[in-house]
Point group: C3
Chain length 343, copies 3
């Protein structure tokens, strides 16, 4: 039997400072844009219309920021999370340049932290992943940490290194796409009249719509991002034949649903934190609500930033966490991000 | 709780003469073309092949006429049919210019009629919707009327205005795409030898094939057109978990099935009337038949027009209407349209 | 009732030497590429990245070789296999030029063999099919033979002509895309370190991953290739409502799964033989293994050829054939092909 297939890395294969160059660069184009619109109820005007994007100072509509995220993330799966038990968190995510149709993205990850768990069977790995385009320009950077199995429980524990991570990206560190302005912003065409000044921290917006997920949909999406984790595709992993849905599918679904109430929260520029609170399966009906966490100015004309908590849920449960701080079973996603909005 | 989400318009929110500029312009491209071919068994040569379209005088293959229709229609949903009880009819539809990959479409609707129903709880709204490209050229115009809920049954009825609508677009009013000719038309490559002169009014063509619809397919399609009506996506609306399929999905499916027998009915240029006779659900096997209603000359070389009734059915029922003129339960769609065909 | 629909050809409609020009040329583009990535877990770097393809001497990433195959094949269905009982085999397949986004493909088939079966009800038809682009350049040629129903069992049998077919394409007959070189090949970006010299005839590679197929997925794919065979789409053909999955869907799925262990088996250039051993249905979990059959040099810098047997299976069965040489029931596909790999 050949041993040429990739078994994935185990906890003891990671060293702090190690840089992993992930395989299979990917050219993204109009096809991926169209598929994004078929897979998610996305309606953000800046991504839907070249003409609208041009009216905001861009030379055309960039690809959705989450297309960049999923593509960069997908490349890391064979090296980072093939033997992962859990995707624990995100931090310090920043979108650094728009991705245009025709761009080719590749990813690298640097191991920035390691901590073996007390059971000796697993450990936590922190990586800082960077996506780069064909011109060598960084387009996205974020920290992710995952729990990974050890190959051999008897292997010695590495020195514990836990990185210091910001609770949130500071507004001054957000990168505004070159040339962007919202001074001539057409609120009617964008779909809602609400500008940054209309939102107050603490305000909660229920996004009304629900979408019931089918197996075919999340598999099409997850393959599109070349994310190869078996659990998303192979029904024989579970007795009920359901496949575990890629957490990023829920992020995109919830973000698209949030159009209704946040139509002007256009470009995502920062990812402060994120938790996949509970697994999502085909047949679940996903709904979303957002809470305004903060607002900030930026240096670009007419462009402000809004910090949002985006929560995706399934079924009819209410609330977020129980008394012990544990996510309630109907909560799928708790995401904390910055988006750009006309002031 | 925030009140920023869009509850949709109710009957009393419409005034005759009101013009609604619909949100979210959309750039359409090669991705939408490919998806159209994945979602429907479309084989019309003019839309499938740039080379074939060039042999008919066009600079390349336009996007399918129904891509234009669905996109223009989809934009109207949040403003026209979010609180609609029923989609009652279409009239005076004309395709005014081809849509090319890269074009951006936006829609506006003018309210041209209002009539409160005798129950006082609903009313009928007539709108004339126009789709326009990024150059300001109209690409499509049609009248649609829907039954809409009143917010408040006690609100006074508006003055009744019922627009005068043509039974059919007159052949002389059909717009032929600039440069189109069928004088060198390759019938073998197009798939069938039948030209306009081979069809006679009254002739009925059973299109042989059947397609069983899956939930994932109609949801992908409906999202692609940014049609956000909840009933298409949220399984919790019905006890059986089925979602009501967007009527336009059935139109595209039936039109694609009609290739077998009408391969040379190329471009759709007129929509005379249309009824979504019964709801369609995932699991239904859709079949189609056409009846030739009329034929006409046009001013373009070798180009004639054929008026067709396109009927989509599910299951095995026969016939169209019962003795009282009501559609039989197996009938999904009854569409009356003009297409261009080589003479 | 109109007789304009296509009933398909029957056995007695074929004559040796007859050339059939298949209908509906098709322009392929970035949308088809994106859909291919959504439908199959394809990760070959040469098809995923314009930049990677450029580093191998091409001006950009061609469309996947199997997109060309499915498109050329799909056009033949209405003329060759609409009344086919079984798809019996492939031989002498050669990819003759890459297909680039924007290319338009058309197909022709020449009947090269006929043999009536002893039951008098069916016969075997051999055709050599050629796919050609808009410049008149052949891009693909292969022989396929199918068992086709007779319209009339009493019709006289034609003279039996069984073509002489090669067991395999000779390495010297493989066509290497113009300009291709693998001298600067980046194995890390491609995903695996294994070069041609690391593979030995007889080596077997189990590709680890499994994919459970949904109805929506195979129908989207099959429609995309404009393959209209009823059995793939119409659930009323079988009491269990399942549709027979297009054999080419299994080919693409198995080829994509084979990335894990054969990431550097880049371009497919030869199809030596192929059998669809058992039918595949939605719900089946497809896995794949490959056996190295041969390796060869080519004239292009750094480019070798590897001959592979690719076997797709469903469920957990082991082995390929029973004692009588019949495929075991878990075997879906047994394909013999040549791919190009860095030496």
């Amino acid at each position: 039997m050949s041993s040429k297939t990739n078994p994935g890395r185990f906890f003891e294969d990671y060293k702090v400072g190690q840089v992993i160059r992930h395989a299979v660069p990917r050219t993204l184009g109009q096809g991926e844009r169209a598929l994004y619109h078929a897979l998610y109820p996305a309606r953000g005007a800046l991504y839907s219309s070249d003409a609208f994007a041009a009216s905001c100072g861009l030379h055309g509509a960039p690809l959705d920021d989450l297309i960049a995220f999923h593509t960069v993330f997908g490349k890391t799966v064979p090296d980072v999370s093939l033997n992962a038990v859990a995707n624990l968190g995100y931090a310090e995510g920043r979108w650094l340049a728009p991705v245009w149709p025709g761009d080719t993205l590749a990813s690298t990850s640097e191991v920035i932290g390691l901590k073996q768990n007390s059971n000796g069977k697993t450990g936590v790995v922190w990586v800082r992943t960077t996506g780069r385009n064909q011109h060598g320009t960084d387009v996205l950077s974020y920290v992710r940490w995952v729990m990974v199995r050890k190959r051999d429980a008897a292997a010695p524990a590495p020195e514990t290194v836990v990185p210091q991570l910001s609770d949130a990206v500071a507004p001054g560190d957000l990168v505004i796409p070159k040339g962007l302005y919202f001074t001539g912003y057409d609120f009617e065409l964008a779909g809602e009249p609400h500008r940054l000044g209309d939102y107050r921290p603490g305000e909660v917006i229920h996004h009304v719509d629900g979408v019931t997920i089918e197996e075919a949909e999340h598999m099409l999406a997850t393959r599109l991002w070349q994310n190869t984790a078996k659990v998303h595709f192979d029904a024989t992993h579970r007795p009920d034949g359901k496949r575990l849905i890629y957490g990023g599918h829920v992020i995109s679904l919830a973000r698209a649903l949030s159009f209704n109430g946040l139509a002007n929260a256009q470009m995502i520029v920062g990812l402060n934190a994120g938790a996949h609170a509970n697994p999502c399966f085909a047949g679940d009906t996903v709904r979303a609500w957002s809470e305004v966490l903060d607002t900030a100015k930026t240096s670009a004309p007419g462009v402000g930033a809004i910090r949002l908590r985006l929560v995706a849920t399934k079924g009819d449960g209410e609330g977020l966490k129980d008394g012990a701080g544990k996510y309630l079973p109907h909560v799928l996603l708790d995401l904390d991000y910055w988006a750009l909005m006309p002031v």
